[in-house]
């Protein structure tokens, strides 16, 4: 009995990590149809934001350090949401309705983001800020002129190389001075050490088992995020607009819903959720430039199995995948059949798959089989009424 309860808890905890990571993607991919391969990197940004918050709190002594996670969560949300917003405004909004291009573009962005955290330093940030100031400041200044429409192309083609050259030269000059504060990479390619607060490191004893507090924390966090998203989409005015745009973009636009703003907002919220997931996974795993890559495949798997555009399906899929992974991987299934001789071949079969890497093979095989039967997931969208 105890084994069963612990087993269910463990299955749920695996599922809740998947769900938390997939929630943002369910919104971005499900509601907007954007295949965002940079989702993992948005999680990574959230994890790095947690690292920065932790380091700041280290200066305030042990008492404050215990509470850093509560500051890190909103900070991670905001950082990733802003990154997502820039991503949407800068790249993805030009690619709506072209899934293949989006896929390639976001994959490229994921590479850029990974390399960015590896090599970001004072000089690079200085260069980027200077460029943005010169370029966008210049554009803003020129757009005040009355003949703006006429000189637009000429202005951009003059401003762009000019501000690039200035910021590049400035960057080179600053790096030549060799001030270490500016030229030293902030994070470098190494993994960084995020240590959960002391009160999250222990566990809650049940017999010979111990339920980790960090897992309980993640389950609670997942439930809260889920409730928050549910409330937002179904009870708030912006949620209503998002659902309207998902169902029929042209009609919503005709009725005066600012679809551009809705797109940006949806994407930012999805990205922000990725940031929260990134903060949560620092409790369990490593934080490095490649952190996001460890999750991206599983996350897409969850969303596809759940059925695109359906939050409830995502929840079921995440929990189902979590529990199946656990039951196979931990050998619980093999144990269940070991009592009877008649089921010996079944026992052998499940024992063979009772290793973490083999369990993954089995889960993928099951998913492929499942998608043969229900190609659009647990809850397929029906007709034009793609509802939540």
């Amino acid at each position: 009995m105890l084994e069963l309860a612990v087993g269910i808890f463990n299955g749920f905890s695996i599922g809740s990590v998947l769900l938390l990571a997939a929630l943002g993607l369910a919104i971005v991919f499900g509601l907007m149809g954007v295949i965002n391969l940079a989702h993992g990197e948005l999680m990574m940004l959230g994890a790095y934001a947690t690292f920065v918050v932790q380091n700041i709190f280290q200066g305030f002594g042990d008492g404050a350090l215990n509470l850093y996670i509560f500051v890190a969560l909103p900070v991670a949300f905001i950082v990733s949401a802003i990154a997502g917003l820039i991503l949407e405004r800068g790249v993805i909004r030009f690619l709506y309705g072209r899934p293949l291009e989006t896929l390639l573009a976001t994959w490229g962005i994921s590479l850029i983001l990974r390399q960015f955290v590896r090599s970001v330093n004072g000089v690079l940030v200085l260069g980027i800020v200077l460029f943005c100031l010169l370029f966008f400041g210049g554009l803003w200044f020129l757009s005040k002129r009355t003949d703006w429409e006429r000189i637009r192309t000429a202005a951009i083609s003059a401003l762009l190389p000019l501000s690039l050259a200035i910021s590049a030269v400035a960057g080179v000059l600053v790096s030549k001075t060799g001030v270490e504060v500016l030229t030293k990479p902030w994070f470098s390619a190494r993994n960084v050490d995020v240590t959960p607060p002391a009160w999250l490191r222990g566990g809650f004893s049940v017999g010979i088992y111990q339920l980790p507090y960090s897992r309980i924390f993640i389950i609670v966090l997942t439930v809260l995020c889920l409730l928050g998203i549910y409330w937002f989409l179904n009870r708030s005015i912006w949620g209503l607009r998002i659902r309207a745009v998902t169902q029929n973009r042209e009609m919503s636009a005709c009725l005066g819903i600012p679809t551009d703003t809705v797109d940006a907002l949806t994407f930012a919220i999805g990205s922000g959720l990725a940031g929260i997931a990134g903060c949560a996974i620092t409790l369990l795993g490593s934080v490095g430039p490649n952190t996001g890559q460890n999750y991206i495949v599983d996350v897409f798997m969850v969303v596809v199995v759940g059925g695109v555009g359906n939050l409830f399906g995502t929840v079921i899929a995440a929990l189902a995948i979590g529990i199946v992974t656990y039951l196979i991987g931990s050998g619980t299934l093999a144990l269940m059949f070991s009592n009877s001789d008649a089921l010996q071949p079944l026992t052998d079969f499940f024992t063979f798959f009772a290793a973490t890497s083999m369990a993954k093979v089995m889960v993928f095989a099951l998913i492929i089989a499942f998608l043969q039967v229900k190609p659009s997931g647990i809850f397929p969208q029906k007709g034009r009424t793609a509802e939540l």
Partner: protein, 437 residues
């Protein structure tokens, strides 16, 4: 009209892309690939005028960059020290650094490039066994020379490779023996799913069978996986009253494993973990809070008390920063440059065959203590076991009295039992049957 606009747009975006790349390039640190000091045409054996060219072949990008860049730093430090002391045969060493990019075919390509185009005298390189296996064929077909600095699974003895990290009998086997003597007989084996952990665990299982221990379970995690709950349940079921966990995980999985072990209440007093790929650098990345009290087996720890080590740690910190730590692979990388230098000086030339002969028998007072190059191209090394202490460094709890001779072919595995390797005798070579074993 629309055509003209398209072209203009193309020019605009093209110049933007080009300019951005320039900006990024100018702001980032200069690329590490390329020669360090000038260019030469390259003569046979890497000698050219006043310099001798050597190749450094590690991953500077990709997953393995985290570990391999530290080894490159150690190698560069050794080269710099040797150059400041007058070089080799009166010539300065010039390092040609190539990036294997954590991609095994790239390693093979770059190895061929170093040998054929740069005509280097020797190559220092590789970390993972997969990358070593990938370049092995290149070095053997071109009859060139590679020095390899990382502990590995053994079962290999190439004429063209010198192995300066530990063979299994210099790391894994003594660790298992020490655990059997001090910690108990029930072992759970955890590893990443690739060649090193699987081979290492085969060796451990054979050894446990021979020495009276039990393998109560084993499990493998895909590289990079961070979900270890099933493994922890299995450990709890297989070892309800505590026992030994032998850990050959690599990379990110280690962080997840130790963080979640602590959460599940598997503490070092009941479940001591012996790791063979966690050194000082990894302790810093995992977080010492999760590791205090666990064990690791290496030939070198930063806390080894020898005058050579003190000097080296100081030199390393002066070069790369006070907050840096040194570890076993870095030390092996550092000393292999010196061992090669000694071999070249004894041979009086960089001719590969002469250096290969001269290398055997070279001794060096390394930071870890005296090391000797054996006829099987591996080093005799002291074996140590360390326990992680509060500051993230290791307390050395056990060490062998003198260097242990390396065995390239494992003596616990039936297929290679009774075999050895000897490159000083042409009739013996890579693998020969030892009499009366």
């Amino acid at each position: 009209m629309s055509n003209g606009l398209g072209r203009r747009k193309f020019l605009l975006y093209g110049s933007a892309a080009f300019g951005t790349s320039l900006l990024l390039k100018s702001c980032s640190t200069p690329p590490e690939t390329g020669t360090d000091t000038g260019n030469g045409d390259g003569a046979t054996g890497g000698e050219n005028g006043d310099t001798i060219k050597v190749g450094i072949l590690h991953s500077l990008s990709g997953t393995m960059a985290i570990s391999e860049t530290t080894v490159v730093e150690a190698e560069k430090l050794a080269i710099k020290e040797i150059n400041e002391a007058g070089g080799v045969l009166g010539k300065q060493i010039e390092a040609v650094v190539e990036d294997g990019a954590s991609d095994w075919p790239t390693f093979a390509e770059k190895a061929a490039k170093l040998i054929v185009r740069d005509q280097v005298a020797v190559v220092f390189g590789c970390w993972t066994s997969a990358s070593r296996k990938a370049v092995k064929d290149v070095f053997e077909s071109k009859d060139h020379m590679l020095w390899y600095p990382v502990q590995y699974e053994g079962q290999e003895c190439s004429k063209n490779i010198f192995y300066t990290g530990a063979a299994p009998n210099q790391q894994i086997e003594p660790a298992v023996q020490w655990l059997l003597d001090n910690k108990g007989t029930d072992f759970f084996l955890v590893g990443s799913d690739y060649v090193f952990p699987r081979t290492a665990n085969t060796v451990i299982k054979e050894q446990l069978k021979a020495e009276g221990g039990n393998t109560v379970g084993e499990d493998y995690l895909p590289l990079g996986s961070t979900e270890v709950t099933p493994i922890i349940t299995k450990i709890q079921q297989a070892l309800p009253d505590g026992g030994i966990i032998f850990n050959t995980l690599n990379g990110d999985s280690n962080v997840a494993f130790f963080k979640q072990m602590q959460g599940a209440g598997l503490t070092p007093d009941k479940y001591p973990v012996m790791s063979v790929s966690i050194a000082e650098e990894e302790v810093r990345q995992i977080g010492k809070e999760f590791l205090i009290g666990h064990y690791a087996s290496w030939n070198y720890f930063q806390t080894v008390e020898t005058p050579e080590n003190e000097k080296w740690v100081q030199a390393f910190k002066a070069e790369y920063g006070e907050d840096r730590v040194t570890n076993d692979p870095m030390e092996a990388a550092y000393i292999m440059v010196y061992l090669w230098k000694q071999a070249v000086e004894q041979a009086g030339t960089t001719d590969l065959e002469a250096v290969r002969q001269a290398a055997i028998g070279q001794e060096f007072q390394a930071p870890e203590g005296l090391v000797t190059v054996n006829p099987n191209h591996h080093l005799s090394k002291t074996v140590r076991i360390g326990q992680v202490r509060d500051d993230g460094l290791f307390d050395i709890v056990w060490s062998t009295d003198e260097p242990v001779a390396p065995q390239a072919w494992n003596q616990y595995v039936p297929a290679t039992k009774g075999y050895a390797c000897d490159w000083s005798d042409p009739s013996k070579g890579e693998r020969f049957k030892v009499e009366d074993v």
